[in-house]
């Protein structure tokens, strides 16, 4: 890993290192301070609560470990999500942090994730005449099925591996899209 440029990032990079051997709950601010070589108080200044730390850590992991391939079509979208689920399977500890961070009460006024915007843009192109209400219901469903939460739930709750999770995802996507009237699809 390259040299972090600032303290806030250095803290996150060290937290990610510690995540390889223990869960987020077991990473104390003290241990983190020792790992970075700064005072505990400096960490509190950057991340006043553990929720702040969790949210920032999840964003950082998302950007550095799970970059989302860009997509325009539905099949590219599915391929991008498959790639993500396989990456999650390879780094489960990191993926759980993402799932968990997306479940907490937001600590800041967070923007919707890039994934959300990309799904909305995809639907604008794929189904340009779709009414607003249906478009939002479809976008929300696709977003939720492509989330780290879906991966985490299926892996822990149903004991599925990445390939099986991808299958379940594909079926969910096709059942949701099947609800749209044929006429709303863009002809290409």
């Amino acid at each position: 890993m390259e040299e972090p440029v600032d303290t806030a990032t250095a803290i996150l990079a060290s937290a990610a290192v510690l995540l390889r051997e223990r869960t987020f709950d077991d990473i104390s601010y003290r241990a983190l301070a020792d790992e970075v070589g700064i005072s505990e108080r400096t960490i509190y200044r950057q991340y006043p609560t553990r929720a702040h730390l969790l949210a920032a850590l999840s964003n950082w992991i998302e950007q550095t470990c799970f970059p989302l391939p860009p997509f325009v079509t539905v099949s590219d979208f599915c391929a991008a999500v498959h790639q993500r689920f396989h990456a999650f399977d390879a780094s489960p500890a990191y993926a759980y942090v993402g799932a968990r961070a997306s479940a907490i009460s937001p600590t800041l006024d967070t923007e919707p994730a890039y994934l959300t915007r990309a799904i909305e843009a995809m639907l604008d192109v794929a189904a340009p005449t779709l009414n607003r209400r249906d478009r939002r219901r479809v976008a929300a469903s696709l977003r939720y099925f492509s989330s780290a939460m879906f991966w985490a739930r299926l892996r822990t709750g149903l004991d599925l591996d990445a390939a099986e999770i991808c299958d379940a995802f594909d079926q969910a996507v096709s059942t949701v899209l099947a609800r749209l009237p044929e006429a709303t699809w863009a002809r290409s």
Partner: protein, 195 residues
């Protein structure tokens, strides 16, 4: 009216003291808008010694998991569905309940997403499987798995969190969108029920 279900994992029988602790902590989470509440404050609210809280819940994770399970079993308890095709209605109902207690909804959502250290992420799975097998026994294993996966995902507080956070939906729209998606999942099997 059906019995109240609390998911596949039965909630352990709680002592009066434990119930008082969990109820106090739940109140404080709602009042303070955060689960970061000290044991001292919880003990004071419950009217017991701080040591008693520690004796019952040695770590914060223990306390949080017990509280999330208690919230699900009491405040978010639901009527049992009698048919897999009733599940969208149950989901609609649950979303409205989550919307009325947002802080508690986040706590339950978060504990389910902790991996090995967390609560069961699909507590209603066994119930869904029972309903599906009773009515639509002819599904092949992969299709059955996909239906169960999609419904247990939609029938969870994570739906409420995601739809609200990523799309700014209000409670009514979340309930509508989640039930709509669940209906979509069931569309493919509506005509396949056993005679």
């Amino acid at each position: 009216m059906g019995a109240v279900v609390t998911g596949s994992t039965a909630v352990p029988v709680l002592s009066g003291t434990q119930r008082a602790i969990l109820a106090a902590y739940t109140e404080l989470i709602e009042e303070l808008g955060s689960d970061d509440v000290s044991y001292r404050v919880i003990a004071r609210r419950a009217g017991i010694a701080e040591r008693t809280v520690f004796r019952n819940y040695p770590t914060r994770v223990d306390l949080l998991l017990a509280t999330a399970a208690w919230i699900e079993a009491t405040l978010f308890a639901r009527e049992e569905s009698h048919s897999i095709f009733d599940v969208p209605l149950a989901i609609r109902d649950a979303m409205q309940r989550y919307d009325a207690r947002p802080e508690l909804a986040h706590v339950v959502a978060e504990t389910a997403m902790r991996g090995v250290n967390g609560a069961a992420p699909s507590p209603g799975r066994a119930q869904l499987e029972r309903l599906l097998d009773a009515e639509v026994p002819s599904l092949d294993p992969a299709h059955r798995r996909a239906v169960i996966a999609a419904l247990s995902h939609l029938d969870s507080v994570g739906t409420w969190v995601t739809f609200r956070r990523e799309f700014g939906m209000d409670g009514r729209d979340i309930a509508d969108a989640a039930a709509w998606a669940a209906e979509a999942v069931l569309d493919g099997i509506r005509d396949r029920v056993a005679p």
